[in-house]
């Protein structure tokens, strides 16, 4: 990683272009002319960010040079598909580098380079069925009886229900565990297909905000991009006409998210259905509650909150490090 003086140089270049410096990065490249940094850019995971170029060097080969380096670094780190979130007016610069525009929402444009969405849809071609299909998107951290109730309710109302499990690993339970528990809990439901969202569920964890002027815009912009990506790119391919969500009486973020979602889906003629939570012991079942019971080792309480498959997992050896992690952080 770059030394402190290089980082400072990059930071002042980024800020001089009206962007915000985000220290969360895996790779940083700078391009110099006569010892002066004239362009820089960074990568965090599969997301490129903070591309900044001095005005005199814009429209030259600098952008191609920076993006080439960042792309090769990303590929070496195992990311064949790379995202860039930027201002809509900057989208054409990236399109001329073979980035494809995925979605635009207000002050944000999302583009990708590499096999990307087309390959994702191609990989799932066998699971795509005609009809009036539905979708549920969950993190499933871990899968609860609340999730099961939502899935069962939704599955009754559509031809096929796609249960998308968010790929992004920012949760205590790793993706492969969350995915497997969702599959195991729904094997009895013949019209339910469990899918991986891949990169196409935009979480707050991967959404960079360096190009947004105001921090209070960030959460709304992230939600808008996520929902539009679903409504414009995912739903039509899977013939999804209804999206089901669990009611969120407590969490204000999720409640705000549901509000944005219902509005955007309506614009795209996709029905939005909120399913009331089921209760256990008088209060709603949530993954938060399950995690608490799990780290407190309340076995009897857990039995009333999760399906058999999740219960078995929580009692198994591989679950122990997850409990330790939950306790310490």
């Amino acid at each position: 990683m770059a030394d402190p003086s290089t980082l400072r140089e990059a930071q002042s270049l980024i800020e001089s272009q009206g962007l915000r410096f985000e220290p969360d990065l895996d790779d940083l490249v700078g391009l110099y002319d006569n010892g002066r940094m004239v362009g820089c850019g960074a990568r965090k995971g599969y997301v490129l960010k903070m591309l900044a170029i001095l005005p005199d060097y814009q429209g030259t080969s600098v952008l191609g040079e920076l993006v080439t380096r960042l792309t090769l670094g990303g590929m070496a780190a195992g990311h064949d598909t790379l995202f860039i979130y930027t201002q809509p007016q900057s989208a054409p610069s990236f399109q001329s580098l073979n980035f494809r525009l995925l979605v635009t929402q207000g002050p944000v444009a999302l583009l990708e380079h590499g096999p990307g969405l087309e390959a994702y849809l191609g990989d799932h071609a066998a699971q795509i069925a005609p009809g009036q299909n539905g979708a549920v998107v969950i993190n499933g951290n871990p899968f609860t009886l609340g999730h099961l109730h939502l899935v069962e309710t939704a599955a009754q109302r559509v031809d096929r229900l796609y249960l998308f499990v968010v790929r992004e690993d920012r949760s205590a339970f790793p993706f492969d565990v969350r995915f497997r528990l969702a599959q195991e809990a729904t094997t009895h439901l013949e019209n339910v297909v469990v899918l991986d969202t891949s990169r196409y569920a935009v979480s707050a964890g991967t959404f960079p905000s360096y190009f947004l002027k105001r921090l209070d815009e960030v959460a709304m912009a992230q939600m808008g991009i996520d929902v539009r990506l679903f409504a414009q790119r995912i739903a039509p391919k899977f013939h999804i006409t209804t999206r089901f969500v669990g009611e969120e009486p407590h969490c204000t973020t999720t409640a705000a998210y549901n509000q944005v979602m219902s509005e955007v889906l309506h614009e795209h003629a996709i029905q939005w259905v909120e399913v009331p939570r089921i209760l256990a012991g008088g209060s709603p079942i949530s993954a938060t509650r399950v995690r608490q019971a799990f780290i407190d080792n309340e076995i009897d309480a857990l039995k009333n909150l999760v399906p058999e498959s999740t219960f078995e997992f929580l009692r198994s050896a591989p679950a122990r490090p997850i409990a330790d992690c939950l306790r310490s952080c």
């Binding site: 080969s61 191609g64 040079e65 993006v67 080439t68 792309t71 090769l72 590929m75 064949d80 001329s96 580098l97 073979n98 380079h113 590499g114 096999p115």
Partner: protein, 87 residues
Amino acid sequence: MHIRRKASSGTMQSSDLMVTVEPSDLLQIEIESTVKKQFEHLIRAQITATLEHLGVTTGRIQISDRGALDYAIAARIETAIRRASEE
């Protein structure tokens, strides 16, 4: 030659292309190009001819092209394949 591992060559600069090759049981050629509409068939023909010349029959070949000329395509493909086939 045989593609043993993943390798790349080239750049995203104008008139150049970036090539990534990796092992695969099939021969897959994926083309992104700023001039795809007009020239995809010619780009594909150049890639196929170069692979034949090098004796490559399987592998996944991805290219991101910005209007490279034939000889640049041939050179970048050959470089990526040579890198990918090293012992």
